[in-house]
Amino acid sequence: MKSVQFSVASRREGDAAIIYPKGYLNNLSGENLVIECGIYIGKGITKIVVNFSETDLINSIGISMLLQIIEDLRNIKGTICCTNMSKLLRDTFEMLGLMQHMLVFPVESDALTYLKTGKL
């Protein structure tokens, strides 16, 4: 598999922030994901959507980063939505019991609709 250098992009829509991790979430560069979310949380954003369309794989280091984001949002009573996840990611999150701590949507627009209307 071709290894892609991990990077993070983001945008804001309404009162939510959408984060786009790109590449294999498996080393210290994953800290950028936590930092990016932290910047939005620092600005008062409590709704974060992580769109995993360009991240197929995650290892224990990446899970640790995700735990940090979950913890940070929990401390401010915020919401984390994960979207566009590969089957491998879903299986991993499910097996680790992470699904109970996040909302999962097939695509980003579904998550944004839910955050806007409160309806699935």
Binding site: N59, S60, I61, Q68, L98
Partner: protein
């Protein structure tokens, strides 16, 4: 695939992640940070700390941590952790010793009989306590981390010792050079007219050797030979050394003994440099075999001897003597050229001229010869003279 199997595969891949984090080319801090992430990610812990035991201070230093209050970690007593046993992870429960840090699970880190530190975890995200399987996996991880930390600690010890040895060597070298300079000052003090002569000859000789492409160790040896070349004069009477009128044949013979005496003295010293005693012994030899003390000629004279001979003569000529006036620099250079092949070496003369010319033109950051020349010297005239000699001697 069952959840148990998936979990087992995840744990195996976490061990692989750990191996990768430990053996990565990252610096130590980054490695440890990655290791902590692997552990917290594997055990779904929102609190984790990796502590390293510093034997000299008997304290636990936090190498990496997340979620714990630093003050809580500081309250942990290393001796109490040591008494818990080796490489066996603990569910802390109500243990009064360990609850101080707010950790739920602890793995002491040992390598053989050496206490290395401890690994603490807490705040499991998924509801439910840590299990026996968690403890078993943590034991495996703790063993790997203990070995990695111990290796790092050994490496640091070795680096410290190496640094200490390097410092001691530099100190010794400094003392050694100080002693040599004191010796040289003692030699030069015997004769009011040769003040700093040994120092200058050492500088000139080293500058020529450097221009010839010698390595730093060889240059240092040349420098030392320059300092000590007249050490035998310590055994010659002050009256004779400071005599104003011309020497009688017997007195000249007595004065000439100084190079053999220099050899006798330096031969007793075990120098780390080659041929120092040979250089000081033969610095008054000539290429035509008419020098002293052994009347050696041509191939019998090493490059070091040839350098020292020219540097010594140049400084002698440009210094005041009780029985004659000092020469100006141009005349001294002319004298050296006149005695090429009979007394002085062609190659050494060429290099000497190049160094001095470079120093005059400011091409060398730390000049060795120029600062000691007569301040009234006309440098442009000297440079022109040197350029002419360089062209002449460079022509095959």
């Amino acid at each position: 695939m069952s959840t148990e199997l998936k979990k087992a595969l995840y744990n195996i891949s976490a061990l692989a992640d750990l191996g990768q984090a430990i053996t990565s080319e990252n610096n130590f801090h980054e490695k440890i940070q990655s290791v902590l992430y692997v552990i917290t990610g594997t055990f779904l812990a929102n609190k984790g700390a990796l502590l390293f035991y510093d034997k000299p201070t008997n304290k636990l230093n936090t190498l990496a941590q997340k979620g714990f209050a630093p003050a809580d970690l500081d309250r942990l007593n290393p001796e109490e952790l040591m008494s818990l046993g080796r490489n066996e992870s603990y569910l802390i429960g109500d243990d009064p010793v360990l609850t101080v840090a707010g950790a739920e699970i602890l793995a002491p880190l040992w390598v053989r009989d050496e206490f290395i530190g401890a690994l603490l975890l807490s705040g499991k995200l998924t509801v439910g306590p840590y299990t026996l399987e968690d403890l078993e996996l943590l034991n495996v991880i703790a063993n790997q981390i203990a070995i990695a930390l111990n290796n790092h600690s050994l490496f640091l010890d070795l680096s410290d010792k190496l640094e200490e040895n390097r410092r001691l060597y530099e100190e010794m070298r400094h003392i050694y050079h100080g002693t040599l300079q004191a010796f040289a000052a003692a030699i030069d003090a015997k004769d009011a007219y040769t003040k700093n002569h040994s120092h200058r000859v050492a500088k000139y000789s080293a500058a020529i050797a450097r221009e010839l492409g010698w390595n730093e160790h060889e240059i240092e040896g040349m420098y030392v030979a320059g300092y000590l070349h007249d050490v035998g004069k310590l055994a010659i009477s002050n009256t004779l050394l400071n005599k104003v009128t011309p020497f009688t044949p017997e007195e000249r013979e007595e004065i000439r003994k100084h190079s053999t005496l220099s050899h006798s003295i330096t031969a007793k010293i075990k120098f780390p440099w080659k041929n120092v005693e040979d250089m000081v012994w033969h610095h008054h030899e000539r290429l035509d075999g008419r020098g002293y003390p052994e009347a050696l000629a041509q191939e019998s004279l090493s490059d070091g001897v040839r350098i020292l001979s020219l540097a010594d003569s140049f400084d002698a000529m440009t210094s005041q003597r009780p029985y004659r006036e000092k020469m100006d620099v141009q005349s001294a250079i002319g004298e050296l050229r006149k005695n090429l092949e009979s007394q002085f070496d062609h190659k050494v003369m060429l290099v000497f001229c190049k160094v001095l010319d470079k120093e005059i033109k400011g091409e060398l950051p730390e000049p060795d010869i120029l600062p000691h020349l007569d301040r009234d010297s006309d440098l442009s005239v000297i440079s022109t003279l040197l350029e002419g000699i360089i062209v002449e001697l460079s022509t095959p």
